[in-house]
Amino acid sequence: MKNYFKSKGFITVLASVISIVVGLLIGFILLIVFNPAYAVGGLGSIISKGFSSSDKFAKVLYQAAPLIMTGLSVGFAFKTGLFNIGATGQYTVGAFMALVFGIQFQMPWWVCLIAAMIGGAIWGFIPGICKALFNVNEVITSIMFNWLGLFMVNLLLNNMPVMLADHWGASNKDRTAALASANPSAIIPKLGLNELLHSNYMNISIFIAIIIAVVIYIILEKRTFGYELKACGFNKDASIYAGINAKRNIVLSMVISGALAGIGGGIYYLSGTAQYTIVKSLLAMGFNGIPVALLGASSPIGIIFAALFISYIQVGGEALQPEYAKEIIDIIIAVIIYLSAFSLLVKNILGKFIKTDTSNVNAEDKAVTPPEPVPAKPAEVAPTEEKGGNE
């Protein structure tokens, strides 16, 4: 038992919990500042709303599914040394492809989902190939492709009358048709889960997302392909030296990353409860993948929990209306998420107080958190004999 408290996994979890608690406290201070009368109730709502009813719980799961996908998209790219800030563009294109196959071509849901995956993959492929062949920074290209994706989708939808809601008997022209009226077979099956939880939001998308996360985990940790990808991410020169085709891996990594975000767009808009609205701002779901990946330390399994947590906070936050303005709720949620991402920092501080028992990290580690390695923390406290202050 003593060893258990000294294991790395325990410190990781403890660090996350401390970060979240601090985030909630600061969120509470903001609640007091903006509207003292409702502050206590507001905090209670953030903390407990997600479990307050089966309907709310279903909503947590419903929002978590696409968040897992965009989180995986960003986290997968992180692990392979790329910063895919274009998840939102890939998400948008994926959503569009899913809806086109569902409404225009009247395809079943799984075909739509594959189309979404391909759409996202293409949107990841282009920045990937630019990086591999011409060494163009993927951050720049993928930001541009966010806007390209958004406006291309809007332009196409404006010129595809069948896609829009008014073609199917509704009154509005600024959004895509409700799948229930356009093509019920394109809605992701609910398998009775909606009745179980008494919620329209519930379908199997959360399970799809979790299965994909597990597959990504296996690819990264168990397969030679993941070994290659991570080697390229950690040290491109060494992987070239080892005979690994680094350029091909950069492209593949962006394609997979894009495909994951694309599926995210697909499962959200194929739920039957969401309609794509033609607006001129990027979709937040894609960007929220970044804090999810950070909070989950880019580990696929960590990302599942991170997405659930952020979704939970969001559902709680929505319940703060109308006492608090929507923007204020966003700020509070952002503060909580922001501080949660500090868990790495807290972990290092904790590490200094609790000396890790290095001889015994194997077994217990795996039980608590997914195995390391966590990327992007070169300044790990690794004091060995000779390295000293050299680095």
């Binding site: 080697a231 020169d237 070239i240 080892a242 005979g243 390695p373 790990e380 004999e385 000293g388 202050g389």
Partner: protein
Amino acid sequence: MSDYVIEMLNITKRFPGIVANDNITLQLKKGEVHALLGENGAGKSTLMSVLFGLYQPEEGCIKKNGEVVKINDPNDANALHIGMVHQHFKLVECFSVLDNIILGVEPNKMGFLQKKEARAKVLELSEKYGLKVDPDALIEDISVGMQQRVEILKMLYRENEILIFDEPTAVLTPQEIDELMEIMRGFKAEGKSILFITHKLNEIMAVADRCTVLRKGKYMGTVNVADTTKEELSKMMVGRNVNFKVDKCDCKPGETVFKAEHVTVPSKLHKKNAVNDVSLEVRAGEIVCLAGIEGNGQTEFVQGITGLTKMSSGRIELLGKDITNASIREKSIMGISHIPEDRHKHGLVLDYSLEQNMVLQQYWEPQFQHNGFIKQQAVREYAEKLIDQFDVRSGQGPITTVRSMSGGNQQKAIIAREISKDPKLLIAVQPTRGLDVGAIEYIHKQLVKERDEGKAVLLVSLELDEVMNVSDRILVMYEGEIVGEFDPKTVTVQELGLYMAGAKRQDENNSKKEEA
């Protein structure tokens, strides 16, 4: 008033699982050059980091001029006039020499930089100590030797009295080393005190007054250099007698394994070719050494033939097969092993575990994977076998993150991996760079063993001792061309030096060019 400017008394510093410094005492007199000698991992750098305020010791104290001082960070060290030239320089690449020197202590009037005074002071210092630098050159454009002079000027500019040099000669050419020794003597004459961390015994004998020896974190003693010998020092350091001469039988070269014809590689730094029309052969059972001063095309030649950079012309053969256009992986499969020059850049994925690094080129072989799934058990067993066989030491065995291992053991890991691939041709580029005598002896033995097993070995080295001791045939490279071929038994170091510096060249190698 104490005799000593700096005293580190009974310092103990522990890290998880290891005592890096165990009750170590180091006393530095005013105006002396004090060497700190020890193998990799003996705790030298840790001790210096304690002095420099990067680590806090668990036990013991530091005294300056007899008074106890507390050094919490490098700024405190600076205030006590302690300066350090780190092994890996801490310079801003895209800043000028002058900017780097004044960085952190910029002279200013109301926030406006006063570079004029700074420049005058730097030029004066550079004149006084013979530290030639161009204040306006950018760091990224100047040689490693000059970068080191910039680091030294940084210490002088801050008026440091206690100068720490952390393995300063590891990156220098023989000529630059001589210059540095001269500079150190100058400092000594000025009354400055120098702490000189090294594991090169020749340098200690040449320049140091006293020497403190550490072994595995323990204090072994302090000796007057005048009263001791190289052999005694190395015995204190390693704990046994070290054989400086490499034992080997005569070489019995067999068939030609590797052949390079007219290889030309463009330079990344300038418009000329880094390697110009180089042809050479390596036969089975011989060690061919490519000697030369750093930057004369050896690195580029090896990168060209291994495929890390593209050759612009020429062809290469392995066992009679043309491999000019083969990929790196194909070359690896055909039997080329490569111990790269830069072990952190090319040789290892530092954030991978030791076992993952052990299969860096072989993870895809059926031995280690099945249907794309890595056989963790097979990898673990293979790594354990290599760790055992090559005595690679690390905190947690196969699952140790390589970043946390000492330089010597990282290098051993690479050597274990490359030799265990059972290559036909082993290319070793400066395999002993920055290692201590024990490890060097070991690596030399391995190279000779490979040779005796009939492998062809191409060794690139800057160390003349290594060139003379290990090789069977020496090729000297100068400005991208081979300027001479020698038998180590008949040539002298002085003679080699002349060829390496470009003062002489054998005619048959370049007669064609002169005609044209």
